[in-house]
């Protein structure tokens, strides 16, 4: 996440990044087994509220990211709503058949997409990439060449973007971006890809050689500049997430919004 967009720090920042990622990755698996629309509604509600409470992101940026996530969620639900299987037909127009079942299932998929985008944003906006990779090395014993490889590569992103804009300006000046259509897109993508790839590969190769020349090695007993450990925040984090999931399950039984307890039926 762009550091300039982060305006405040919440206790989510103090949670061990590797553990935070593990918990969030596990949540995805849990979500695959939820077929109850009510549970999905409450779960999305719970995590949406906790995102608003704990994110460090500036409000305007946050709004636009959520808005894009919302549009994406709607788009991902439309196919199922329009063309899904179902017996209780609500609306029909040629191939397009909206049934109660397909509508419920479509909403379920849309909510699921939105939920995991929000959870992903909660992670991204409260985790510093550098600390994440240091944590991977120290807590999960990820080999340093991978972690530092990632860090060095991410550091090149701004340079790559700058190059991208340079290429774009160069193409504009030569009038190469006027053509429209799929074929023009294809040639455009190819031109960008070759220019960006060749430059980036050269740069990456040089950086790797430079790192090894400065004695970057795989020796055991490496010391770290940032020491990442577990703390009491990790326990609070796990309890919070477990509590949110449990609350969503309980609320879906106590206050169901819809009659659809299994969207697969």
């Amino acid at each position: 996440m762009d550091r300039n967009w982060i305006i405040r720090s919440t206790w989510f920042y103090n949670v061990n990044p590797a553990l935070k990622f593990g918990v969030i990755a596990a949540l995805f698996i849990v979500g695959l087994f939820i077929h109850n629309l009510n549970t999905m509604i409450w779960l999305t509600g719970c995590f949406f509220v906790s995102y608003l409470l704990f994110t460090g992101l500036a409000k305007m940026i946050s709004f636009w990211l959520l808005f894009t996530a919302f549009i994406l969620a709607i788009l991902s639900s439309t196919t199922m709503i329009f063309f899904g299987k179902g017996d209780h037909v609500l609306f029909q127009w040629h191939f397009l058949i909206i049934s109660e079942e397909s509508l419920a299932r479509g909403l379920h998929i849309g909510l699921r997409t939105f939920l995991y985008t929000v959870i992903g944003m909660l992670f991204a906006t409260t985790t510093r990439p550098v600390q994440f990779f240091y944590s991977l090395m120290q807590q999960i014993k990820c080999p340093p060449k991978y972690a530092y490889g990632f860090l060095a590569a991410f550091r090149m992103l701004p340079i790559m973007y700058e190059e991208f804009y340079t290429i774009r300006a160069a193409m504009k000046v030569r009038g190469m971006d006027r053509k429209k259509g799929i074929k023009a897109r294809y040639t455009k993508i190819k031109r960008y890809a070759i220019a960006l790839l060749s430059q980036s590969i050269r740069r990456a190769q040089r950086t790797a050689v430079a790192m090894e020349a400065k004695r970057f090695s795989e020796t055991s007993g490496r010391t770290y500049y940032y020491i990442m450990t577990y703390s009491r925040y990790d326990l609070v984090f796990i309890i919070t997430i477990a509590g949110l999931v449990a609350a969503a399950f309980w609320l879906s039984v106590a206050f169901p919004f819809t009659p659809y307890t299994n969207v697969l039926e």
Binding site: M80, A193, A204, Q205, V209
Partner: protein
């Protein structure tokens, strides 16, 4: 020669993945525009999202780089709050694994059109498997599901198969790939002449 990835292989692979991250931003609107039509037309361009893996392994020609490239692209999505977040992480991981399997099937000896197209199909298969769990695609009307699968495989074969090979051929012409590729038997033969 060691089969393990060196720092330079890793760095080059991750950087390739990040370049694709930028290209995806160009491609994203194409897919989104096609989506609301509903007849699964967007599946034809879905293959673009599989491309980082095949391209990375075609350039570096080392076991494991396809998986690493897809994971790196997915990790980037997660860390920079890209579209989909943690969802793309799992899709990236599964796709990378299946691309890798295609090359493994030929014992990392062949890096031609056939294997690359197969690896594209592999990635399409991986994404479909996840779609069963995440997107309930089996609950779509039969004809719609069939369109989805056919279009996705066509797109995957064309974009992450044929286009990937064409792209890497063009990169070969720039000479940059010889920086990272392991020395082949042909290179030794040249020395013997």
């Amino acid at each position: 020669m060691s089969k393990k990835l060196k720092l330079s292989d890793i760095l080059v692979t991750i950087v390739i993945a990040l370049v694709f991250g930028i290209i995806y931003k160009l491609w994203g609107p194409v897919s989104t525009v096609l989506k609301p039509l509903g007849f699964q037309i967007d599946q034809l361009v879905y293959g673009m999202w599989f491309m980082a893996g095949p391209v990375a392994i075609l350039i570096t020609r080392k076991p494991g780089t396809a998986l690493l490239a897809e994971t790196a692209a997915a990790m980037g999505e997660v860390l920079f709050a890209g579209q989909g977040g943690i969802i793309s992480f799992y899709y990236g991981l599964a796709q990378g694994l299946f691309v890798e399997l295609a090359f493994l099937f030929f014992r990392y000896k062949r890096y031609d059109m056939l294997v690359t197209v197969l690896s594209g199909f592999g990635a399409a298969l991986a994404s479909l498997i996840l779609d069963i769990g995440f997107g309930y695609i089996f609950e779509l009307a039969g004809w719609n599901l069939a369109l989805n699968i056919i279009f996705r495989f066509i797109g995957a074969g064309l974009i992450s198969g044929v286009f990937a090979v064409v792209l890497v051929k063009a990169l070969d012409a720039t000479g940059v790939t010889s920086l990272v590729r392991p020395v082949s038997k042909d290179d030794y033969d040249v020395l013997d002449q």
